[in-house]
Symmetry: C2
Subunit: 387 residues, 2 copies
């Protein structure tokens, strides 16, 4: 099942398994704890000084610069990512150099380009909203006319946390984006009438082994994940199975390695449609740090290092994650520790070493237990101390 | 309850709470993960390059040298420890400088000197084996004669993992130690007839808040901890209460701050006697990393930073820890990851970044679940892959 070349290469290294993460944000930061515990060496190519993953930052440089990335890659056994923004030409040059890159460029292109993702999911028969590539106002207006006069328009590249996404009811509302296209296209999607949003996490090793987490419910505010309940309340056996099958089909069909997060809509008529993909640990999986036998950050490291995957089972009936968005209007986040911890000794507080700024993800709180109301209350209330 | 001077001092720091750990071994290493997750800055004064806690090592130097330790202490808000070997004169000079030291020298003297510990526990009325300070062969022989002809003899300082401990049946067997005393004394203890060994973990903040973990059973081999079962099987309510009360009495009586581990004997006649103390996270508490809401390393950081303590409750009915002693006879520890993880996806593997060496603690495996036989099997079998 495993790629023996990688294993051999690693054995020849004097240092043990060295995992190189491109990007120094909170996702790289949260790989530090499981890397230290397992005994995998983590190296991080950060965008600048003082990033979240500072402790493991062994280099600072521009991830768009091939020679910078090449120099970083020479010191590690496998390259993985904190974000999906490393250019395809850089990724493909690394692969040509013989570097193990997980997820690889063939997979990552579908996380980098939402039009490519929609086209590939259609080929795979994965249920998704109706969509079209629109090159001009006429095409967008035609899509609007066919879909009740409203649609979601997305820039195929560079969007995250609600950025690069707009709901429009007239093609003119996307005129600025359409005017800047230079030959490309925007993605138009039907405005799905959903009852709730879900997310499916699944890990996949290079050789194909997968481990699916239970499907979770995510609550978004202003386009940003605010809260996650694991597993999704009122999950039917069918829902759990369908979500896991969608995760499996995408992970395999796109040859994803590492963690894959599939954001889903559950519609009024009980359909499950794919909204977005992320090929890395994802906010919707943070609950697993404290709520599953194997957290998503450990699982990602195991998958990209081509080690057998860990057990994704929950440790308790419920786990709830509440983001700390923005942080305190005055003072530092850690000045709120005493009050939060005093009120909630069972809350698991995670902060990212970032300065507070309105709307910014600066930390999250996990809570775990067998009574959902209690667990929701603990996580929300503890997180509330950081507002 | 909390020491407001410390809190004020911290607030004035630009960087957030900075915890300085003296000693770069695996206990310091295992503080890294919770420090990163909470967002506490950890600094480590390591004994040399390439120590277990290398990732957080911000300094290398001799912990017996006051100026080295002073320079390290200037950059942190609180000093704590990976081991108990920092000399009293160094500790007392730091306190005189106004440095927050947890545990403080008044507490640590009882972990550094087993004769002082026995005398203080006697004052506190804590149940312990019969003991005496013996200065020469005559005094030791008298103790032997009074205790059935056999006794445990310990050097009061510097012993660990079975070192500095000897069972003797004739005073001449300790002649070398007695000859080297230079005016001091050895500790002679009755050879306790015990059915099993237990350990009580308790955390204590500077202001007095405590949090007790459930008493655990420890299995020693050749004087080294081999296995821990949490909670101790067949624990009666009385046992749990008595062990916690002993922990409380010692933590308060000795003014311990941070984690305290109390190693206990359970005797044939159901008495609980104190064997040894450790004022830091301890091998007998490693199970809590994966088996409790708040692991002992997070709890230690919270206690020494004077933050409210976390919930010490177990996450499942059972947690078992098995040490990886020695490690592979050939090759590196991480070369065994694949086989161990493949066989036991639910095992939590922790390694310390140390080279294998016979008898050396190089890692441990935790397993958690509701069936004790399963959990013991998982932890033992996964750890066995590293032999």
């Amino acid at each position: 099942m495993s790629d023996t070349r990688e294993w051999t290469r690693r054995k020849e290294s004097r240092m043990g398994v060295r995992i190189g993460v491109i990007g120094g944000g909170q996702l790289a930061r949260m790989m530090i704890a499981p890397a230290v515990e397992l005994g995998l060496e983590l190296r991080v190519l950060a965008e600048g000084e003082g990033m979240s993953a500072q402790l493991a930052a062994t280099g600072v440089g521009d991830y768009r610069d091939l020679e910078t990335v090449r120099a970083f890659a020479r010191e590690v056994d496998v390259i993985t990512f904190d974000h999906e923004h490393v250019p395809q030409e850089v990724l493909r040059a690394l692969v040509a150099d013989g570097v193990a890159v997980h997820p690889g460029p063939d997979a990552l292109q579908f996380a980098q380009d939402k039009l490519a993702m929609r086209a590939r999911l259609a080929e795979l028969g994965v249920p998704q909203p109706e969509w079209a590539a629109v090159r001009d106002e006429g095409e967008l207006q035609a899509f609007l006319d066919d879909h009740g006069g409203r649609a979601v328009v997305k820039t195929p590249r560079g969007g995250y946390d609600g950025k690069g996404v707009r709901v429009v009811s007239d093609a003119a509302e996307a005129a600025d984006w359409l005017g800047a296209l230079e030959g490309g296209a925007l993605l138009a999607e039907e405005l799905v009438s959903f009852t709730r949003e879900l997310a499916q996490q699944i890990a996949r090793r290079p050789g194909g082994q997968t481990a699916a987490y239970p499907v979770v419910e995510t609550v978004q505010r202003d386009g940003v994940c605010a809260e996650v309940i694991a597993p999704a309340p009122h999950s039917t056996e069918r829902l759990v199975r369908v979500a896991a099958e969608i995760g499996e089909r995408i992970a395999e069909g796109l040859d994803v390695t590492g963690m894959l997060a599939v954001e889903l809509f559950q519609t009024d008529d009980e359909r499950i449609l794919v909204n977005e993909l992320a090929m890395r640990p994802h906010n919707s999986g943070h609950w697993s740090q404290d709520g599953a036998v194997t957290g998503q950050f450990e699982q990602h490291l195991r998958a990209v290092a081509d080690l057998p995957l860990g057990d994704p089972r929950p440790l308790a009936e419920w786990a709830v994650m509440v983001n700390i968005l923005g942080g305190p209007a005055e003072g530092r986040i850690d000045e709120r520790f005493a009050a939060a911890m005093d009120a909630h000794p069972d809350a698991k507080v995670h902060t990212y070493g970032k300065d507070p700024r309105p709307g910014r993800k600066v930390g999250h709180v996990n809570a775990v237990g067998d009574d959902l109301d209690d667990v929701v209350y603990t996580a929300r209330s503890a997180a509330g101390h950081f507002a």
